[in-house]
Structures are given as structure tokens and as C-alpha cells.
């Protein structure tokens, strides 16, 4: 029960994109299509789960004054490992996301959860927090990517729904990301009453 609560906390109540408004750079940068948003969300989730777990395990060994550098080293190593694994075993995904993978290091969701959750809670709770926040991030990015892809190119997950010529190119470009995200946050807040 406790774990479920932590899980749903990350998906809805503390959704990193809609509520905490953290990690805006990859959110706006990678969501030009639903599949890109989803891959980015899943990659971030993988790093988040491991970083939360490791940081929660080593939290009492790390003196307060060097905790940020220690966490950054842990997170950067995880991201580099993830990058190498993706390059080796999922080269197709790596090809589309390559540029954004190293940027996960500076995604403030990860350091934010390390500080706000993993450094104060046990390893198992931290894993669930990582899954919850990661899922929340993935859902948000997939939604945003889907909306932008649909409005901008007439496709959804690569399947054409209406001819590309009628698409609003603006939504694939950077301004469209801001507009779509703004409306999406408004709708989510209204519907979920958060």
C-alpha cells in the first residue's frame, strides 16, 4: 500500500512535468514525436530508478558537504553506461535520441529526486519513487510528443492520420512545444484537480 502510494504520487500528485515543472529542457527538446518522447521518458526512468536506489544505499556514507558532487558522479556514470548500452543493443533508438542521452545527467528531475527523496528514504521506497516519477515523466512526454506530432505532421507513432500538408509545422518547432505544454498543463490541472 505504502509503495503504491509512492508510485502514484510520482505519476499524478508530483508529476515532474505537469506539477513540479522539472526537466523542461528534455521535455521541450525531445517531444517532436510521440515515440521520441516515450523513448526519452523510458531512458530517464531507467537512470532515475538506479540513481535513486544507489544514492539511497550510500546516503549515510556521504558527508553532507560533498553530497552533490557524489550524486553527480553516480548519475553521470549511470547515464554514460546507459548510453553505451543503447549504442550497443538498441542502435535505432540511439540514432534518434543520441544527442539528448548525455543531457539526462543535467536533468534536474534526477538530482531533484536524489535530494528530495532518495537521500531521506530507504532503498526500496526510492526504487518505487524512481518508477513513479519515471512513469509520470514518460506519460507526460508521450502525451506532449503525441499532440505535437499529430498537430504538426498528421501522424501518431509514425502512422499517418491525415496528410502532412495540412499539419501545423509550428508544433514540431520549438514554439509549438511551449504552446502545447502550456495547454496540456492547464488541461491536466483542470481534470485532475491538482
Amino acid at each position: 500500500m505504502k509503495y503504491l502510494k509512492i508510485l502514484f504520487n510520482g505519476i499524478l500528485k508530483e508529476n515532474p512535468t505537469f506539477v513540479l515543472l522539472l526537466g523542461m529542457c528534455p521535455t521541450l527538446g525531445t517531444t517532436s514525436s510521440a515515440i521520441n518522447g516515450m523513448s526519452m521518458g523510458l531512458a530517464t526512468m531507467a537512470v532515475l530508478i538506479f540513481s535513486n536506489f544507489i544514492i539511497s544505499c550510500i546516503k549515510s556514507l556521504v558527508p553532507d558537504m560533498v553530497r552533490i558532487p557524489s550524486y553527480i558522479v553516480v548519475i553521470a556514470s549511470l547515464v554514460t553506461a546507459l548510453q553505451m548500452f543503447m549504442q550497443a543493443f538498441t542502435p535505432e533508438v540511439y540514432k534518434t535520441l543520441g544527442l539528448f542521452i548525455p543531457l539526462i545527467v543535467v536533468n534536474c528531475i534526477i538530482l531533484g529526486r536524489a535530494e528530495a527523496f532518495a537521500a531521506k528514504n530507504g532503498p526500496v521506497e526510492s526504487i518505487f519513487d524512481g518508477i513513479g516519477i519515471g512513469l509520470g515523466f514518460t506519460i507526460a512526454l508521450t502525451l506532449l510528443g503525441g499532440i505535437r506530432e499529430l498537430l504538426g505532421t498528421g501522424k501518431l507513432f509514425g502512422a499517418t492520420l491525415y496528410p502532412e500538408n495540412y499539419g501545423m509545422l509550428l508544433f514540431v518547432l520549438a514554439p509549438g512545444a511551449f504552446i502545447a505544454l502550456g495547454y496540456l498543463i492547464a488541461v491536466v490541472k483542470k481534470v485532475a484537480k491538482i
Binding site: S32, S33, L61, V62, P63, M65, P69, A88, P91, E149
Partner: protein
Amino acid sequence: MKKLESTLPNMLVVLTLISVVAAGALAYVNEITSGPIEENKARTLAEGINSVLGVADAQVLETTEAEDSNGNPVVIYATNQGVAVQAIDPNGFGGKLSVLVGFSDEGAIKGYTVLEHAETPGLGAKASTWFQQGEKGDIIGKKPGEKELVVSKDGGDVDAITASTITSRAFLRAVNTAFQAYAGASAPDAQSGATAQQYPKSAPEEAAETTADAAAAPEGETQN
């Protein structure tokens, strides 16, 4: 368990330990992934060469590495089924753009593929399909030796990718570079007559410049 005090020795020891463990873990990951990464690269290249030449089983006979006039590496793969050239333009919208282009014996483009890029997904990243046969910016069959490939905005006859002119320019520059390297490399095969004068059998980059000037005659004067 109580937290460690923030004393200097404590901090030094902890940070050093964490760094050492992280470095060890990364070295291990590198060890197990470097093999598959190399294999992926080799497979991508083999598939790329086949697809740009439009054949199924091209065998690379000779690989020549050279430099273009700006000092970027150019790799020429001479196969039993034609020649494919890998060229780079460093000034794409997202940085380096690497293409592989296949040429027919007449110097026409048989096919191309984008090997590596960091262009915007949904915009510049379309380069991998935009210039294919039957698409809006079709460059297949064109001969860069007769007329350098330039986007229509700059007076050429290739339609640039919508909202991605910078990517399109970089892409076409890379294709032109590839052709120049191809023309330079194929020179020794055609040693006699006008061809030899047009493509002197010197270093590829010199040949490349000569070819470009031959296409745009007036500038040829300043060269000499």
C-alpha cells in the same frame, strides 16, 4: 546509521572512493559493449553500401581514406559493384552530418544514406528520406560533376527540406564533397585524353578543386 561528518579527510576519501568505483564500473560496461558497438557500426556500413549502390551483396575491394579541401576525412569504398563515398559536413544544424553516397560509372548519384547526424527530429532529420527517389528533393540520378547540387533558395535546383534549409545545405555540401572525392579517386582509371586533364591523378582534394572550377569556368582563372 549516523551520517559521516563533513571533515576534510572524510570528504576526500568518500569522493575518491565513489570516483574509483564509478570508473571501474564504466570500464566494465565499456568492455562488454565495445564489441557490439563496433559490430553495429560495421553492419550499418555494409548495409549502407549495399543500399546506396542498389545491390544486395557488394564486396568492398579497396578502402581509401583521404581528406577534402577543408581537412575533413573522406572515405572511398571501391566495391565490385560500384563506388560508395562517405563524406562529412561539419556545419549541419546540429553539428556533424555524415553521408554515404553511391555513384554510377557516369558520375550520377545512385543512392545515398545519412550515416550520422544530430539534426532536429521531425525537421532536419528528414534528410534521410527527403532526397530519395520520388521524394520532394529527389537527387537520385543527378550528376554533381555537371552541376553542383545547390538548394533552390541559393539558385540551385534541389528543393530544400521544409524549414530546414541549413540541414539541406549541409547535406548537399557533403554530397558534393563525396562526388569530388569520387571524381578524384576515379581519375587513375581513366588516364588518357580529356578525362585525365579534367581529373589529374594527384591528391583527391586537388582534383576536387579542379573539378569544381571546371564546372564554374570563370573562377578557374584565379586558381592558376
